[in-house]
Amino acid sequence: MDLQTLWFAAVAVLWTGFLLLEGFDFGVAALLPVLGRRTADRHLMLRSIGPLWDGNEVWLITAAGAVFAAFPGWYATWLPVLYLPFVLVLFGLIIRAVAFEWRHSHHTERWDSAWTQVITTGSLIAAAGIGAALGATTLGLPIDADGNRVGGPFAGLGWPALLGAVAVLGFSLVHGAVFLALKTDGPVRLAARAFARRWSPVAALPLLGWAGLVQLRSGTLATGVLWLVAALAVVVASARIRVDREGQAFTAWAVVLLGAAATVFGAGYPVVVPSTIDPAFDVTIADASVSDYTLTVMTWAAGIGLPVVLGYQAWTYWVFRKRLSAEPEPHAPAEPVAS
């Protein structure tokens, strides 16, 4: 496998890892008004993602950084074409991040509920916006031979972007619900289960549709099999959540994303920005890549760095593995109060 292909795979892994991890904290944040009837329930939901969301978000920074580092031609085409949508995503991520920290820096009912709403709004904007950007870059953008946008500021926001947005939102909502069912106890757990049961098959359809379209455009037999794996995992996840097997449902729902993302990137390869104007204008990994020397340097750095990162991030998940409950725990005054 040549270095460009290796780095295409690395970028695909980073984006998938981002969606898999930040997907559940996007989902939990979006579900705050739906599942968190009582203030205590909302606080429990926030506690479940509190120690994790920032580490998850670094996957986005790393994924975008890797696109810039390995395929600057992709980065420099993709971002300006979707200039305003990306700015909106940044806006969502900014307000969400400060809301997480500032929410509990002042204690009044209004302050708390206002920032909780900001977390939900910011997460919805970011999830939809990133989905739109990924949908557009895998299904097609209106670019000319130089990679410049044909049309006005919103020309990049066609149906591919819409499909990507709905797909990421749908996936994240159920992902967040299953995560809450797995991670919490009490009324939130029950409500999350019910939500996941109701929406689990339907919410995956846009994602399967997106992957299916890329598969139909340029898929291979192998990516077709991956798509089938994703589709099968939807069935398994829905079945397992119906019998309250939360761990299995969470794993299966993760496989839905893994299969769909593998299909999207695998079938798309080696094109990174398909042009809706003329296939001759497609940006491929060969057009977009940096030199082999730089890719080699990064391969070494990532080869050493990534396992370490995965190790300590997994350890954090292990440290915070305990199921959380909104009810105060008796005889445990030393229990950290993290909400």
Partner: protein, 516 residues
């Protein structure tokens, strides 16, 4: 304004704003880790309270730095796509490595620190804070290495096919002497920011308590006293290092970007020995160097530039002609230069900005050092300062090192204009890698789009600044929670004890609930 100007304003505003958070994160992170270490080692309650109090401010500030840092990574692609394409072989990989090797460390371990009180062993918990701080420092190194490569491109050759730099020596990029000098300067400058904060707030609380007749034997007194002493010592030591590293950086800059330094001095004609300008008057704003006159200290500039009192320092007028001869008197008549195509090139940066930016940086640094000296003097032995002017002045002077940091960066970045990647003088003319700012902007975007994002980001940033300041001021006024005779707080809406209100809980409980 055209897209280029709007995009430059956007980059300037978002970057300077981001860099208000960054030095505080860097400096305060180190100091909070020191406090936490002292608590683990000595078990003294004041260190715990200090960790708690300053840690809170650290976190409120940290998150805004993270949030505004996101914009930084994306705007290279959004508004500066031609720049991104040009520097891609070097610049992008540094950003990616920063994310992989630094941001993960920072955010993961900070999460562990915030939520780990009581859950993980005490020493592992402390180590997680140090790991997060290390992450911040490493990230500073990578981003400064990336910036320094723009100031002084090393480790590359020109790719004949594309005309772009091709990386041949990654180690040279990482050990760029510009980067080493700038990094050490930035890190000690960050410590000055944190030191000034400790001094200003600590003195204010000491004086307030003294006037109210509070005891000088309790833990709270120890908290503020130690904060002032620690902040003062760190500030002064950091100031010495700032001066030394700054001198080093200045000498390098005279070799690498003589125009930037001569503009910082408004030195028009080459002079040997060259004087240092104390105060310039005349029409600095006209950017015509000959309209400017200054009060000067003879010989000093020769020393600052070259380490002796006689060597000639080249003047702006001469350098302008030199650069025009080598890099062209006008921009090429090429559409990639936009409105600037065929226009004459002004190699002299905006004099008013470089000249006063440089002086503002130094002046604010000196102010901060003077305040630190005052703080140490006024709290010697067991003294507590009650001077209104002194203490309130110190509180006001918390802003000084922030301004100094911002002014230093504005000077450094605007001083490199009209280049975005400055030609490296060590490389033979003709083989140099360089790029004009005028060709760096994204060609496909409209002025309306950049206006929209500029206005939106500025408005959001402004609003966030108001909230952040309000939160910090409010938190600082309340001081460290005490257990002595304070009313018992009511429960927060979720029924958990309030982390920030004083209450009758023991110290362990205090710290644990500090977690959120």
């Amino acid at each position: 304004m055209d897209v280029l100007d709007i995009a430059r304003w956007q980059f300037g505003i978002t970057t300077v704003y981001h860099f208000l958070m960054v030095p505080l994160t860097l400096g305060l992170g180190v100091l909070v880790a020191v406090m936490h270490t002292m608590w683990v080692r000595t078990d003294k309650p004041e260190w715990l309270r200090m960790t708690r109090f300053w840690g809170r401010i650290y976190l409120i500030n940290f998150v805004l730095g993270v949030a505004t840092g996101l914009v930084q990574e994306f705007q290279f692609g959004l508004a500066w796509s031609e720049y991104s394409r040009f520097v891609c072989d070097v610049f992008g990989s540094l950003l990616a490595l920063e994310a992989l090797l630094a941001f993960f460390l920072e955010s993961t371990f900070l999460g562990l620190w915030i939520f780990g009180w009581g859950r993980i062993p005490k020493k592992v918990h402390l180590a997680s804070l140090w790991a997060a701080v290390l992450g911040s420092v490493v990230s500073a190194y990578f981003i400064i290495a990336a910036n320094s490569w723009m100031q002084h491109p090393v480790g590359v050759v020109t790719d004949d096919a594309t005309g772009r730099p091709l990386q041949v020596d990654f180690l040279a990029v990482l050990t760029n002497n510009t980067a080493l000098a700038a990094f050490s300067h930035a890190i000690v400058a960050a410590l000055m920011v944190a030191g000034a904060l400790l001094v200003g707030i600590g003195l204010w609380h000491l004086r307030k308590r003294e006037l109210a007749g509070a005891a000088t034997t309790d833990v709270d007194h120890a908290v503020w006293r130690r904060s002032v002493r620690l902040g003062g010592v760190v500030s002064l030591a950091a100031f010495v290092l700032v001066a030394l590293t700054g001198d080093l950086q200045g000498k390098l800059m005279y070799e690498q970007q003589p125009l930037k330094m001569s503009s910082a001095e408004a030195l028009c004609e080459t002079e040997a020995p060259a004087p240092f300008s104390l105060f310039a008057f005349g029409k600095l704003g006209s950017n015509e160097c000959d309209d400017v006159h200054s009060w000067t200290i003879p010989y000093l500039l020769s020393y600052l530039a070259h380490g002796d009192f006689s060597t000639a320092v080249p003047g702006v007028d001469e350098l302008q002609q030199e650069y025009a001869a080598v890099y062209g008197a006008t921009y090429p008549d090429d559409p990639s230069f936009g409105d600037k195509a065929g226009e004459p090139i002004d190699y002299t940066p905006v004099l008013a900005v470089t000249y006063w930016g440089f002086r503002l940086m130094i002046g604010m640094g000196l102010t901060s050092a003077a305040v630190a000296a005052y703080a140490l003097w006024s709290t010697r032995t067991v003294r507590v300062p009650t001077s209104r002017v002194g203490v309130h002045g110190s509180l006001l002077a918390v802003a000084a090192p922030f301004v100094a940091n911002a002014a230093g960066w504005v000077f450094t970045e605007m001083g490199r204009q009209p280049f975005v990647v400055y030609p490296n003088p060590d490389v033979a003319v003709g083989e140099q890698v360089y790029f004009f700012t005028a060709q760096a902007v994204s060609p496909g975007i409209t002025a309306a789009e950049v206006w929209t994002s500029l206005i939106a980001l500025t408005a959001v940033y402004g609003a966030l600044a108001v909230v952040e300041l309000w939160l910090i001021v409010r938190f600082v006024r309340r001081g460290v929670p005490t257990r002595d005779g304070a009313p018992t707080p009511g429960p927060t809406p979720d029924g958990t004890p309030d982390a920030d209100l004083p209450g009758g809980r023991d110290a362990t409980d205090d710290v644990l609930s500090f977690a959120y």
